[in-house]
Amino acid sequence: MDWTDQGIVLSARAHGENSAIAVLLTREHGRHAGLARGARSPRKSGVLQPGNLVAAQWRARIAEHLGQYLVEPLHSHAGLWLDDPLRLAALSAACAVAEAALPEREPHPAVFDGLRAWLDGLPGPFWAEAYVGWELGLLGELGFGLELDRCAVSGSNDFLAYVSPRTGRAVSQAAGEPFHDRLLPLPGFLIGQGGGGPAEIIDGLALTGHFLERHAFAGAPLPAARLRLAERLATIRAAPPPPIP
């Protein structure tokens, strides 16, 4: 068995002195693990950092084996954001969520393309809104897409303000007002209304986090890196802050 593909590093677990079990999100082969020999040597240890884009060659005698990776760096996303707490937290969260949510060896090119586009867009101003959008897309790709285009009660697409935590369908301001404490706020930027900002991003993370926990993680808590991202954003919201850089 032998294939080559592009992959985004999700994690690398130490194996022996110099090697690592690398988990990549590849475009054509999905979330796929493999042994990367010598990957933790001083010259190569920077390659298998979460978020980095690599060219990967995977080899194994039979398909069921763990197999071995040969990886070449294509673009170091991780190195660019080491000194940016928010973006680094988001990068860690995205990799942790992808690793925990995606089934192994099942191709999801849309998730790969979305994550790659999000990583490429990290220097831009709307990376946090785009992150929420990527998680929403991930839910859809896994078969748990939310219906945010019209109100579940009235069928109208005006003044959508909430999402039902049970059905994942949008609810309008008028229909949802009596139950607002039991509904999840729907951030405007997810339906093309409103420009985002810390408060809406936190609402967006709460929305996708709820459904990731419920469906993708079957009730298990979100990965610690994802929780830290939400905490970090909440801290910004609590302080009087400039917009997210």
Binding site: S11, R13, E17, S45, G46, V47, Q49, P50, G51, N52, P73, H75, S76, H77, A78, G79, L80, L82, D83, P85, L88, A89, L91, S92, A96, P223, A224, A225, R228, T235
Partner: protein, 197 residues
């Protein structure tokens, strides 16, 4: 075939970093061949280390005295604390002889894979130490990895109200590094951290 004692010794040696079952067997045989000059002194040294060496209650360093020699050294600059991930990093800093302040060993980094959260790190005493009157600067000397820097940001958050300057090690072109072989992240970090020549 070897007896159960030798087998046990081999199995234990094989758990050491850099040793597999084959090299562990060779090491065991080597020890048995040099019983008086190596095996007995090694056993005594291990016993002594096991009995005497503990983590320093102040910084987390390993030493046979409490507090450790670095914390107890009055010639050290008590106004600067350098935060490192492991004792091995502290030893690396000491080898470089470039730092004369004191240390704080975290005992790891945040890791989603290993399930290490902030509460699993040696953070409790750090804020207290940083608030001490003589401390003016804390240096974050953590690895330039995603986990290392994520940990550095969490530590910086915890120290935000401690009234100390927080700095971190520079990132960029290593000594002897050739630009052609550097990854783009390192190059970008080096460009961002450029300074007047």
């Amino acid at each position: 075939m070897s007896g159960i004692e030798i087998e046990r010794l081999t199995q234990l040696l094989a758990k050491l970093p850099g040793l597999g079952p084959r090299s562990a067997r060779r090491a065991a045989l080597h020890l048995l061949k040099r019983r008086d000059s190596l095996l007995v002194p090694l056993a005594e040294a291990l016993t002594e280390v096991q009995q005497k060496v503990t983590n320093c209650t102040i910084c987390g360093n390993l030493d046979s005295c409490q507090p450790c020699a670095i914390c107890a050294d009055p010639s050290r600059d008590g106004s600067v604390i350098c935060i490192v991930e492991e004792v091995a990093d502290l030893w690396a800093m000491e080898r470089a002889r470039a730092f004369r302040g004191r240390y704080h060993v975290l005992g790891g980094t945040l890791s989603a894979l290993a399930g290490v959260g902030p509460d699993d790190l040696n953070l409790a005493g750090l804020v207290e130490r940083a608030r001490a009157e003589e401390v003016t600067e804390v240096i974050l000397a953590l690895n330039a990895t995603v986990d290392g820097q994520a940990t550095a940001h969490v530590v910086a958050d915890r120290l935000a109200h401690a009234g100390v300057a927080i700095s971190r090690l520079a990132q960029g072109v290593p000594l002897g590094g050739e630009l052609d072989y550097l990854d783009d992240g390192t190059l970008a970090a080096a460009l961002r951290a450029r300074r007047p020549a």
